[in-house]
Assembly symmetry: C2
């Protein structure tokens, strides 16, 4: 198994017909969820608010192709109707069915299609590597790769799958993640740990800074193992989220390189994250990485506008990792060897570390380079 | 005259030799200035802090090709040395000489070059259309067009020239603007009015969200006319800044279209500006404009993540201006005619108006589309 079907009590399947897909995941348990912070929230997101408050689900139904976003009161009613369809095929009640959608904004759900696809998918629900793959593909839009993660803890496992090409696809930039654990965790504790894990993973991925109306991360604990050490469970949950988040960054539209930006020796983790995200969002940094150009001035200039206080004349900046790691700036003095710096930026993953020398906290953010293909995909698309 | 040489008491000239240019502008008067808010500030910016506090200048010396940024204490000393050079050729004292630089970050000024270029330029200082053009070109880097503005008020004039390809050029994304008026204005009042005009013009231009280490806007009042009505002077100053700001947006690297984003019926001007800037900064919106794709969902989704409270189900959205203006969304209901909407996005200028229906304030922001050429320029560049 690569992800969720490694968790006892999880069954899955999915279908993809042209642009329209549907996935079902059946798993009874305690639930925590993190929803989009965009003020414009899709129908299914509105429908999830009280379900997450209740803290229990028996399964989820997810469709791709239509986001059911900016569809008003009817959109909310359609999301509830989708939960009814999910409840019928899974043999439970609609309040125990999670709903999520991804696709074009401003169009209403085709409930007949969803009913037909759900009826097709449900009989196949099973726990296998093929099943988790089908579920992953049923919710993909412009994603080029399935995204799975599985973390084995001491007496428990945490697994997840997600879709997302970095909140950037034409009209369908949604990030959906479904995590499962066999550990026994109460809903309030799960919610707190999920929120922290999301803050340190999905919320540190920037492809183009756009936040979808439909983003959701759900974690279901099937409670089939005993209770677990909160610290080790929390760490496993964060590792699982981070793995998925990095897969999203690497699959950013048009991306050729994953960028990992570490900001260390910062006054606080939050400030380190702010600086890291500001750098990784900079189109100048993203295009420099694309061109394998060690244009370190752009990194320091982006850090300077992040709104975090540090002394620019005390920072150090490194490029690359392992044996290819080279200093660009040390304690405010330029020490770059341009040829070595350029060499450190080759390959599929580019790592920078900026030491602010203003404290002891650190944070990492992930992004991707900006290429002509991003323009082509998003500019040539016609509504 | 197209700009500053229409103001009594202003003389100018400039030179451009390959990547390296130098401009001199002589004009005695009261001075106000707005400096970059980037924490990483170039040497010349540090040197300007006390000169703006003093509120008087006799002239400015500006070089292009080297930003003298991230150059530490020596960078500051070199900026002061450049002021000494300017004072020598203009026959005044260094504390009355403004300095500004634009170009590559992390390299020291070539003071010999600056001394030679200043000696070459100074004898030509004069007040003519050719002179203001030479001064504009001497400070250009990747700009494709000179940027001039001239506003005639009731008994006074305000004029300016600036350089800037939208804070986005490789290593030299600086915005420099020099404004002149013949009106009599005290320094504190001029500072206040300039700050407001900059907030409503240059601070509402977004090409890629990067803020230069070297940005400066200076306004000199030569006091050769009488005192003026503060309201009408303030309006003229803002109009002049806006004209220059729009020219910067239109000259954004790789841009094919100017985008004007109006946000109206907002709770406050500041909130309207925040929403307008968030939209205009969105790569999804910028690429949609490039492709003339009326992808209005991207505009509303960007507005939703701006951090301003409004009811998404009450907004209206329009595209185009004049006879081509068409509604896309009205009071939360989708009314778009895709063909008409697409037609409204053709041409060199694309206008959107988003009515939040949450108040009476409004604000406008300006930007440009995002094209393959931006990637080419910024990705292919090699440090």
């Amino acid at each position: 198994m690569k992800s969720i079907c490694a968790i006892d009590g999880v069954r899955a399947w999915g279908i993809k017909e042209g642009k329209y897909g549907l996935s079902l995941i059946a798993a009874e348990g305690t639930v925590a969820g993190v929803l989009t912070r965009n003020l414009v929230r899709a129908g299914p997101i509105e429908a999830m608010v009280k379900r997450i408050e209740n803290g229990r689900l028996a399964g989820v139904i997810v469709n791709s192709g239509c986001a059911n976003a900016y569809t008003g009161e009817l959109g909310y009613q359609n999301a509830e109707a989708m939960a009814v369809i999910g409840a019928e095929v899974l043999g439970t009640t609609p309040d125990l069915i999670g709903v999520a959608s991804t696709g074009v904004i401003g169009r209403h759900l085709d409930l007949d299609l969803i009913r037909r696809q759900a009826a097709t998918v449900a009989p196949h629900l099973t726990s296998s590597e093929e099943a988790e793959g089908r579920a992953a593909r049923g919710m993909m839009t412009t994603d080029l790769a399935e995204k799975h993660a599985l973390i084995r803890g001491d007496g428990f496992s945490v697994a997840g799958l997600c879709k997302g090409s970095g909140m950037i696809a034409p009209n369908m930039g949604t990030m959906l993640a479904f995590l499962y654990t066999d550990a026994t965790v109460e809903a309030p504790a799960l919610q707190q740990m999920l929120q922290q894990a999301v803050n340190r993973s999905f919320n540190r991925v920037v492809v183009d800074g756009d936040t979808s109306t439909n983003d959701i991360v759900l974690c279901t604990a099937t409670n089939q193992r005993g209770t677990v050490d909160p610290a080790s469970f929390s760490a496993a949950l964060e590792t699982c989220c981070r793995s998925l988040a990095i897969q999203i960054a690497a699959d950013g539209e048009g991306a050729t390189k994953l960028i990992e930006m570490i900001v260390s020796k910062a006054p606080s983790e939050e400030e380190a994250a702010t600086v890291a995200k500001t750098i990784i969002e900079s189109p100048l940094v993203k295009t420099a990485v694309y061109g394998e150009d060690p244009n370190w001035g752009r990194i320091i200039a982006a850090a300077g506008r992040a709104g975090v206080v540090f002394n620019p004349n005390r920072v150090s900046l490194f490029s690359g990792e392992g044996t290819k790691r080279v200093p660009l700036v040390r304690d405010g003095t330029i020490v770059v060897d341009l040829a070595a710096a350029k060499a450190s930026m080759q390959g599929k993953k580019v790592v920078f570390e900026l030491e602010l020398n203003a404290g002891t906290a650190s944070a990492t953010a992930w992004g991707c380079d900006l290429t002509e293909k991003y323009i082509d995909i998003n500019g040539r698309y016609t509504t």
